[in-house]
Symmetry: C2
Subunit: 261 residues, 2 copies
Amino acid sequence: MSGTASERLAAGRSAATGGARTAAAQTAPDPDRPASPTTPAAATALGRAGTRRRADKRESILPTAFMVFAREGYAQATLDVIAAEAQVAKHTIYNHFGDKQALLRAVLAAEADKALAKNLAAVDGLRDLDGDIRGALEDVGYRLVSCFCDERSWALRRLLYAEISQFPDLLDIIQGRAANPVTEALADRLARLALAGRLRTADPAAAAEQLAALLTGSLEARGRFGTRVIPDDEKRAVARAAVDTFLHAFGPPTPAGATTS
Amino acid sequence: MSGTASERLAAGRSAATGGARTAAAQTAPDPDRPASPTTPAAATALGRAGTRRRADKRESILPTAFMVFAREGYAQATLDVIAAEAQVAKHTIYNHFGDKQALLRAVLAAEADKALAKNLAAVDGLRDLDGDIRGALEDVGYRLVSCFCDERSWALRRLLYAEISQFPDLLDIIQGRAANPVTEALADRLARLALAGRLRTADPAAAAEQLAALLTGSLEARGRFGTRVIPDDEKRAVARAAVDTFLHAFGPPTPAGATTS
DNA sequence: ATAATTTTGCACTGACCAGTGCACTATAAC
DNA sequence: GTTATAGTGCACTGGTCAGTGCAAAATTAT
């Protein structure tokens, strides 16, 4: 009933953030939340002084905390280490987030937002209703696979999996912010393609669910839960095989889709 | 190259073990390790007395420790609690396993063994080379889905996911004992079916990988990582949809497989 | 400058817990 | 019985860590 589909897809990022202890506080200007960088308008809302610094510190803490949580695990990660690597006083973290749990929630929410953007960008590759469907699907599939295999994506899933029994609401944070929207977007694209006669399915949500399953199903084992880097051609091979099977089931009715391999 | 296929399948159990504190020491005679129950031969090797008691205690500790680890998480679980619930002195645990990490490894290994048995039994439903393929696949698929959705199976994956970055060798313990054998067994069955002309595939391992992906791909989201119980008919629907797609891609060449829905 | 706010450094509490030591008991082989 | 092995109960050490208190900066608006 409810679109319980390929939530496994979401969560991905390009893993460009390299060094840990050296470039911890660099905080690349990622398109996180617009915040209130230099606009004098937001200054009236909350606090008259230190507004700018406050946002800076927050944006400095979140990615560092995510890295530490991912590296050490939530339970083992200490706020002293996070504070040190973020070059921030421990008190500042408490001022911003209250306690460790709240910090985890904020970190996962921010990371899920980033992942969602990447995934939606990938799915958007299916906007073209006319071109080569197989090629477009393979391309989108490869991009989704890459999102899934991103280092930060693995870390996000690990943290979720690890703490889900302690904090069940984490699931809603991540699924609501990242997984479900991706699935729905994919189903939307497939529906348009079906309506244009390029695909054959009466249930786009189910088709999206199965496409996502085919794409990501083998990645956990292949990537050894994030401890092994999957080479690029292997990702492409997975995407191609997934799309091949997908098109056998949902491909266009008239022409044959079994030209490859 | 190496058969990195549907390891996600493995790990399942019927969850028949019910009460924790009441029937903790019951220790059903699961085919864990042969040990040396009453054989006088092994008595000469290590210790002359208490051999029987020792095995009893060990079999009492393992399932209780698994339950506590699953409930509280590895880091939060304390050996005092495990000892109390297993009705055993804390010292006894240290005598048997050395330290907390070793206990975790032993627990996961034992649980993976149980899961493997269940999964192999399910895959064995594909031994019949003559009957209704679709029906057989749907039945096996349903049983594999049930293994995957078992409470203990969720817990096993959660523990693995949570601690994989701290103890990477856990992956080998579980994949080697449970996931890989299941994948290979499934590939074996598919190969026999292909050779008998009932399926069409040149790469049974790839086919098994995709079948497993189709079966389990949507279960993480549907089961909310183990926090929601998937009703039986939903499991059957997932299996039917997976097999339907699978047969479109790998079904017999001559007859049409699109009779359902 | 002045005042409001935020950040910092440091010390401290309180709790939790892995692992150990020891004296004692229970079981089983002889 | 004796003896060796295994298990028990309890107290204890040593270490870690979330969260707090406080007083001194630093920053920004007015």
